[in-house]
Subunit: 328 residues, 2 copies
Amino acid sequence: MNISEFAKIAGVSKSAVSRYFNNGYLAEDKRQLIEKAVEKTGYSPSISAQNIRTKVTKLVGVILPKLSSESCARVTEGISQVLNEEGYELLLVNTANDCRKEVEYLDLFRQNRVDGVILLATVFTQLHQSVLNKMHIPVVIVGQSYKGFNCVCHDDCGAAYALTKLMLDKGAQAPAYIGVTLDDKAAGEERRNGFTKALAEAGITLSEKHKATAEFKIQSGYEQAKYILSRKPRPDCLFCATDSIAAGALLYCREAGIDVPNDLMVCGVGDSQIGQITSVPLTTAHFHYKTSGIEAARMLLSAISRHDSVPRIMKLDFEIVERESTSR
Amino acid sequence: MNISEFAKIAGVSKSAVSRYFNNGYLAEDKRQLIEKAVEKTGYSPSISAQNIRTKVTKLVGVILPKLSSESCARVTEGISQVLNEEGYELLLVNTANDCRKEVEYLDLFRQNRVDGVILLATVFTQLHQSVLNKMHIPVVIVGQSYKGFNCVCHDDCGAAYALTKLMLDKGAQAPAYIGVTLDDKAAGEERRNGFTKALAEAGITLSEKHKATAEFKIQSGYEQAKYILSRKPRPDCLFCATDSIAAGALLYCREAGIDVPNDLMVCGVGDSQIGQITSVPLTTAHFHYKTSGIEAARMLLSAISRHDSVPRIMKLDFEIVERESTSR
DNA sequence: AGTTTTTGTGAAATCAATTTCACTTTGTGA
DNA sequence: TCACAAAGTGAAATTGATTTCACAAAAACT
């Protein structure tokens, strides 16, 4: 069913039909004729054909590093809430942490497939930079902050600083650190920076023995905790860059008979569900993931509508969630 | 940049360009001319324009009840893996458990927006049925089994039966049950059926006192467990329809000083991450969620390619994961 | 050498819409 | 009653591709 055929059925011209669905510059009697015909036939205009003329797809590309991660899912939920309300659909691609795919998909979106792109970034290479600069549709980056681009990010450094300071204020003197790869600017570098800053202020230096890098997994947290906590002298507090790592660490503590929080304070970052039910409830930092998705979507929408917009960076605040794992 | 302009730059006709990107019925010299021009200009054909002619969008609609759920995320990961490989993109919509939205989106997809639809279903109303029957593009339903439609589902009944039998075989005599709404055929009805079947075989009848319905949340599991376990006589085993409910129940047990598994055996269903780190590691049933996504995507692809396909239902097997919460 | 077949080509039609433009009709004020 | 503005209309051009069709050139047979 195309517009001509439909117009014939409704007893009006093609133009009238088009006007009905668009600007609506149309006499009342024709409007009713068309309305009736729509009800009868269920006709609705082809989006592809509209796209050819208007260059609007009502589609937004969303690039995710990993779907089955609580934080990504929450961000995406925020994005989809706002965009669906505005009549946009999400074209979602999953890069499975494959950096080349990220660029590949950006390139795919560069053609006229979508009206804008939201990138949940982790790593950020030279290649990203150059592909992003060549984009001629608006892009918003979530979770990382890069000059010259639209970004919505969290205060990773501040959260790590606050958590570390919390433990130091409670009397911790020998801290340990399990982080993630520094390629991840936010969760790797920024959180480490916050941790380091708090130590520096307290005049404490971190021993190399008490530093480890884990993956974003419970199992990996368990292993790295085992490695660090079995070395002498044993630390009295442990900062984990993510809740899943902290959950793994707590698992090891229970197994090894280490008393949390009395012998060892532990904290994570992200306030994922898992922290509520660890053997000892976990102190962590709550990031407003869903809000970041909502804000990113809004930012993109406004960049799509008025095309001139200057790049802006929005940093969302966090909240410390204090639970037993650091109570003393 | 359109095909005519590009053809002029390359020094060939529009038709030649089209053939280059499609069937390739083209002389070698022209092929090279075009190849060079593509490298120079970065031209690629407009997907919308292609869609108008060929009716192929290379898009698949995916309807999710909730993004931030581990099982949904895993299924989607499987789907996206297979479809991306075949050059398809996912149009993802999140209904936030709103049944009307589910139908609304099905209707949206009914027009020529996508080549096929995958529906992660929970509830299934009369309205669903009638909208689905009016669909003229292939649909695959994941997680539920409905006659007359393509389905990929899990053996919810079998898993619940096996878990219940496991506890009964270990000597449990007074079972309790925390389920989810029966509107959810798979997680609500089927799992309850499996549980009931095992009881019936053992000649045990369930007291009304020992039955409750929770939401898919830790907090809700906690509350319902509190309600059930505080009534006399206390049950000696507890079947929870999901891991998150079980996690909440275990939380209450720790708080109330109930010894799991000696005083009370507990199990969940779904093998989510959370079960690994509960105060007592959780016995559960592992469903192959990612595999179900993969199979659903394959089923859809084959339905798209040869349009005649008869509806088929695929039921995936499960595995019992036995941990401490039922060890005796 | 003459005919048939194969191979390759571009013009033109087609797909399903929007939008401009030139026009009719209607309404208002003098 | 006439002039002029406003409102409404449909034909036709346009958007960016694919695909059919007719036709030319080259190759392979008589």
